[in-house]
């Protein structure tokens, strides 16, 4: 079996008396969509924060491509090729898609122009368009502010940005939660395309049909620990709901 690109062993994190993560194991493989599901308060967000460098853990080991490492900030995760699309997307509404795509990672002009802070706008625009086209993202305009676009378009831009910079792992925190039918279909299609590029996708969702449709592997969290890690083909929605609520159990693979 291949080495997981990102792996967690025995992660624990307590907030006061609440054990948000309780000895959690987790692994994602390249070129696969791993769904992370669980009821509210199961520890999904905490786990993602820990794995994307947004939160320190009390105990446990995080391994990147088999090597243990300390993730202390999101920039470190970015440098490794790990990106997160948060539920609030974190786009600057007044900036256009290209500016959002490259914010904090601008391509500067070569030579003296770059030294004075001038950016290579043409290259950033070309690359952004390529990135949007590659994902089939329908972006209305590359020069309009993101804030004037629909939720689906903003979601597409946020995902395209994450994928553009991530070459290893992308975390998507409920990317379909606020979307209509067609936009949801676009996002699921986008997830498949990202996976086909060989990137590991972690898909957090409350929607069991979406999870069944798009994921290769499902990890179920319950009360801060992993209730199950299963192959999507071997399960069904009833079992998943049972695992999330604790009504049924299954050996951790």
């Amino acid at each position: 079996m291949t080495t997981p690109v990102l792996e967690a062993r025995g992660l624990s994190r307590a907030f006061g008396h609440v054990r948000a993560l309780d000895d959690v194991d987790f692994e994602v493989y390249p070129g696969e969509v791993t769904a992370l599901i669980g009821d509210n308060g199961a520890g999904k967000s905490t786990l993602v924060k820990a794995l994307s460098g947004n939160l320190a853990v009390d105990t446990g080991v995080i391994k990147f491509e088999g090597n243990p490492l300390q993730l202390t900030n999101p920039m470190q995760a970015s440098a490794l090729g790990i990106e997160t699309v948060h539920q609030d997307l974190a786009l600057a509404p007044h900036l256009d898609p290209v500016q959002n795509m490259y914010l904090g990672r601008e391509v500067m002009k070569k030579g003296i122009g770059g030294a004075f802070g001038f950016m290579n706008v043409a290259e950033m625009r070309t690359e952004s368009r390529r990135a949007f086209d590659e994902l089939g993202a329908t972006v209305r305009s590359l020069t309009s502010p993101v804030g004037s676009m629909s939720g689906g378009q903003r979601q597409a831009i946020a995902i395209a940005r994450a994928v553009h910079w991530a070459n290893k792992v992308v975390f998507l925190d409920e990317p379909t939660a606020a979307l209509g039918v067609r936009q949801t279909k676009n996002v699921l299609e986008t997830i498949r395309r990202v996976r086909d590029k060989g990137i590991a996708v972690v898909f957090i969702s409350h929607s069991m049909p979406h999870v069944m449709e798009v994921s290769d592997r499902i990890q179920v969290l319950r009360l801060g620990h992993r209730a199950a890690a299963i192959d999507t083909k071997t399960t069904n929605m009833e079992e998943l709901v049972g695992l999330m609520t604790g009504a049924s159990t299954r050996g951790v693979a």
């Binding site: 970015s78 600057a92 509404p93 007044h94 914010l103 004075f116 950016m119 086209d133 305009s141 629909s150």
Partner: protein, 373 residues
């Protein structure tokens, strides 16, 4: 037809969409061709306010062709607006970050006072002394700007309060240093050149200085990473921080920039008026803020242009000049500027509201739709 379908159809009709899959699936290339540089220009509030300015100029020119519409009068208006233009550049950056700087008038005075004292102590009337004076003035302003920026970004005190505090502190310290008496010893090399000297056959040097600052400011704001980060911080501090923009450091830089420009304005004012004019800048901050806002920069951050600020400066300046020339009581200028200011913020509100709905941000269309109802 079920109720749901009918509702959907009604909605479609309401939003003027013939096809539900319209905007969502429009390809990039199609959208690009629709959005020419011209339509963007027409949409910009700075352009709309420029039309207002042109109308005002046209009215006064028609009323007083022999006095108002003269090159010498234009020159006077430009000269009077120069110091405010220097301050306006810094203020535009600050308001785009959704901040405010009330202290610029006092910092201007403080920088002028410190600079005048240093130059008086040196005693010379040559460019060596003047150069030291210029540097001292800019550094004094810079120090106040860094002070403001540190308190705002690191101590998290709201900009309104920090700069209200430094407004009082800078003015009070100026009065303490001078004992409340204006210093009138300004090297004549400064007053003869920057003060009321001309170059290129009649263009005031002070206006050339202001123009250079405006052009550099516009390039930095619209073309460089520094400018992009200024918009990003004002648009969404959280979004900027998440992608690794050093928000605190950027805010300090922006307030430092505004302070340094207030310092530069201090030496310009000293040269123009040959006095520290301690009591003369109490309205400066509000005049500059009004100009920036009239020029279309949003007080909520994330949006604005230097060009708009320059146009926004000339509306009060032209009104004042025009009223004096046409014999209207100049007090009407304040009334008119107040009205323009409120109108400008109303326009900004309308645009933000329609942007939030994802609708067109064109003002013309907004008013057209109103009239059709």
């Amino acid at each position: 037809m079920t109720d749901d379908v009918r509702d959907a159809d009604l909605k479609k009709a309401e939003f003027g969409q013939t096809d539900a899959a319209g905007p969502e699936t429009t390809s990039i290339n199609m959208a690009q061709s629709k959005e020419t540089a011209l339509t963007r220009l027409l949409k910009a509030q700075a352009f709309q306010i420029l039309i207002v300015l042109i109308v005002i100029v046209a009215i006064f020119s028609a009323l007083a062709p022999d006095t108002f519409a003269q090159l010498s009068n234009l020159r006077l208006v430009v000269q009077n607006a120069s110091i405010l233009a220097v301050l306006g550049v810094g203020m535009t950056f600050i308001i785009i970050t959704s901040g405010i700087d009330l202290s610029i008038g006092s910092v201007l005075v403080f920088s002028g006072v410190v600079s005048a004292i240093v130059m008086r102590a040196m005693g010379g009337d040559d460019w060596g002394t003047a150069t030291v004076g210029i540097i001292v003035s800019i550094l004094s302003g810079l120090a106040w700007g860094i002070f403001n920026g540190l308190l705002i970004s690191k101590a998290k005190v709201p900009p309104l309060i920090v700069t209200l505090g430094s407004l009082g502190m800078a003015l009070g310290l100026s009065q303490i240093i001078t004992g409340g008496v204006d210093i009138r010893d300004v090297p004549s090399v400064l007053t003869n050149s920057i003060g009321y000297g001309n170059i290129f056959g009649g263009i005031p040097i002070i206006s050339v200085v202001a123009l250079v600052i405006v052009i550099i400011g516009a390039i930095v704001l619209h073309k460089t990473k520094f400018g992009l980060y200024t918009y990003a911080v004002g648009s969404s501090e959280e979004a900027a921080r998440r992608v690794g923009v050093k928000v605190d450091r950027h805010l300090i830089k922006v307030y430092a920039l505004s302070g340094a420009l207030a310092g530069l304005a201090g030496i310009l004012s000293l040269s123009q008026f040959s006095t520290t004019a301690i009591a003369g800048q109490s309205q400066t901050n509000l005049n500059v803020i009004a100009a920036v806002v009239i020029g279309g920069t949003s007080l909520f951050g994330g949006y604005g242009t230097i060009f708009g600020t320059v146009v926004g400066l000339f509306i009060p300046a032209v009104l004042q000049n025009g009223f004096v020339i046409t014999g209207v009581q100049p007090f009407w200028q304040q009334v008119a500027v107040g009205a323009v200011l409120i109108a400008a913020v109303y326009v900004d509100q309308v645009r933000r509201a329609s942007a939030a709905r994802g609708a067109s941000t064109s003002l013309w269309r907004h008013f057209a739709r109103r009239n059709n109802k």
